[in-house]
């Protein structure tokens, strides 16, 4: 369902992704683990038509996102790592907007939104503008929105960042349900080992732009001779903390804070 071969992405002199290859069969939950700056998000961007690879090939359901972006976009849904909601719209309007763009039929849209809002505890706040939401509520909205339509492939880029255990639990049971009942292929990144171990069929560990190991949690533990995924992860990627450069977006966010209403 997802296939990548020798995928490379360079930003100027910096090489974010340095020739990775992997395959995710239909109906599998596949997790990408890696320290900050490993290239996980860059990889997801290349898979979801937001970035063009410097070289290498990608296929989503047999389609190349670089040359057939619009067809490819019909195949997937995504929950982004950082905010992607409209602050001035209400939670409900954000959902509606998504539903229209993804052609969720009107007669099932309202019911589906209600169901997801109740599931993620947003129903009472549905008519509030997102600018008044807390960080956790924003994340819940992003996740609810990502589940509004049922894609063939679901990308989750660190979806549980900053979520409470209750919401995390809801999220993963929803994802598992979609995976089991609708055979949705799931591609996720996370920093939480126990999550990856709990939901993912297979795991790839990425570090400094390369995949350093892949296999099931059990295989990774066996391969490194460790007894937990966390120690296996540290054995594969080392214990030093990674540098990550703040891009223009970070600079801009800081500036925007100064001008906030």
């Amino acid at each position: 369902m997802i296939w990548a071969s020798e995928l490379i992405k360079n930003f100027g002199a910096i090489s974010a992704v340095q020739g990775i290859s992997f395959e995710v069969p239909k109906g599998e939950i596949f997790a990408f683990l890696g320290p900050n700056g490993a290239g996980k998000t860059t990889t997801i961007k290349m898979l979801t038509t937001l970035l063009k690879p410097s070289s290498g090939r990608v296929e989503l359901d047999g389609l190349d996102p670089a040359t057939q972006p619009q067809e490819a976009r019909k195949r997937f849904g995504i929950v982004f790592q950082d905010s992607s909601t409209d602050d001035l719209l209400t939670a409900y309007e954000n959902m509606e907007f998504h539903g229209v763009l993804y052609k969720v039929p009107k007669r099932i849209r309202a019911g589906r939104i209600e169901e997801l809002f109740k599931l993620f505890g947003l129903w009472d706040r549905r008519d509030h503008q997102v600018q008044y939401f807390s960080g956790g509520m924003r994340r819940r909205l992003e996740i609810a929105r990502g589940l509004l339509h049922t894609p063939k492939i679901l990308f989750l880029d660190e979806p549980t960042l900053g979520l409470d255990p209750q919401t995390r639990n809801q999220l993963w049971s929803q994802v598992k349900r979609l995976n089991e009942t609708e055979a949705v292929t799931v591609f996720l990144t996370t920093h939480y080992m126990e999550e990856a171990e709990r939901v993912a069929h297979r795991i790839a560990i990425m570090d400094q732009g390369r995949i350093v190991a892949q296999g099931s949690a059990a295989e990774l533990k066996q391969q490194t001779g460790t007894d937990s995924l966390e120690t296996a992860f540290l054995a594969l990627t080392g214990t030093s903390i990674r540098e990550e450069e703040g891009g223009s977006i970070d600079r801009m966010r800081r500036m925007a804070k100064l001008f906030r209403r």
Binding site: T48, L50, K52, Q70, L101, K103, A256
Partner: protein, 248 residues
């Protein structure tokens, strides 16, 4: 088509909810109207050109539409920074329809601002010569709005933050306004200014507005309409192309 509509609607909702922006974007045109209109009024009168408020009001309306539509286009940078752009760029709709929806939405808000300023001009003593030509004036306002929203969107597609924004304001928007004949009659301006004005889409927009509102023409409505429509098509095309190439 639904995608275009929902994107248009979103721009309108955002506009309706940012009152401070609405107020701020009215302040500047009013300053021009009152300071220049009343300040230069007596001199204009003595030079034998009649009432300056009458003359400058279409220019100030054109300017309002120019500034607001440029700003609406540039607003794309905010969406990029705050992440909402991603949501629209991965959606299964063509980038062109996303761009058209945004542009029409931004243009509509600029048009509304223009209408508000026209009403305020009337309070300041401006009189429309022939009310039956008001639809023509609205058409010109809509074309100015679409042209510059598309241009702003195109430029914003190339910028990842606001560092280049000041450059755009100073090198593009301000000259487009001051050299368009919004504030002075082009007919008696020196040849170089007339030449530059004849390459500025706003010149044709303001001239069309002025002809429709007070019956004073420089290029004449057919030329105004033809040239402005050409610019609209050009900027929509170029803006759509640049937008479709955005990478995040």
């Amino acid at each position: 088509m639904n995608a275009v509509y929902i994107l248009w609607l979103r721009q309108l909702k955002r506009y309706g909810r940012s009152r401070s922006r609405m107020a701020a974007s009215l302040a500047q045109p009013l300053l021009f109207l009152f300071a220049l209109g009343f300040g230069f009024g007596p001199i204009f009168q003595k030079a034998g050109h009649g009432n300056y408020i009458q003359f400058i009001a279409p220019g100030v309306i054109g300017m309002t539409v120019l500034f607001n539509s440029m700003f609406s286009g540039i607003e794309l940078i905010w969406d990029r920074q705050f992440g909402f752009l991603k949501e629209t760029l991965v959606a299964p709709v063509s980038r062109l329809s996303v761009m058209i929806g945004r542009t029409l939405g931004g243009a509509t808000t600029a048009l509304i601002q223009g209408v508000i300023v026209m009403a305020v001009c009337t309070l300041a003593g401006f009189r429309v010569q022939n009310p039956s030509l008001l639809p023509v004036a609205l058409l010109f306002m809509a074309l100015i709005a679409t042209t510059f929203t598309a241009l702003g969107t195109g430029i914003a597609s190339l910028l990842s933050d606001f560092q280049g924004f000041q450059l755009v304001m100073n090198l593009l928007v301000m000259p487009a306004f001051f050299l368009s004949g919004a504030l002075f009659p082009l007919g008696e301006a020196p040849a170089p200014i007339r030449l530059i004005a004849s390459m500025d889409p706003l010149s044709f927009g303001v001239d069309g507005l002025r002809t429709a509102l007070i019956g004073v023409a420089h290029f004449g409505i057919p030329t105004d309409l033809g040239v402005l429509a050409m610019f609209t098509a050009l900027f929509l095309g170029v803006g759509g192309y640049l937008f479709s190439r955005i990478q995040l």
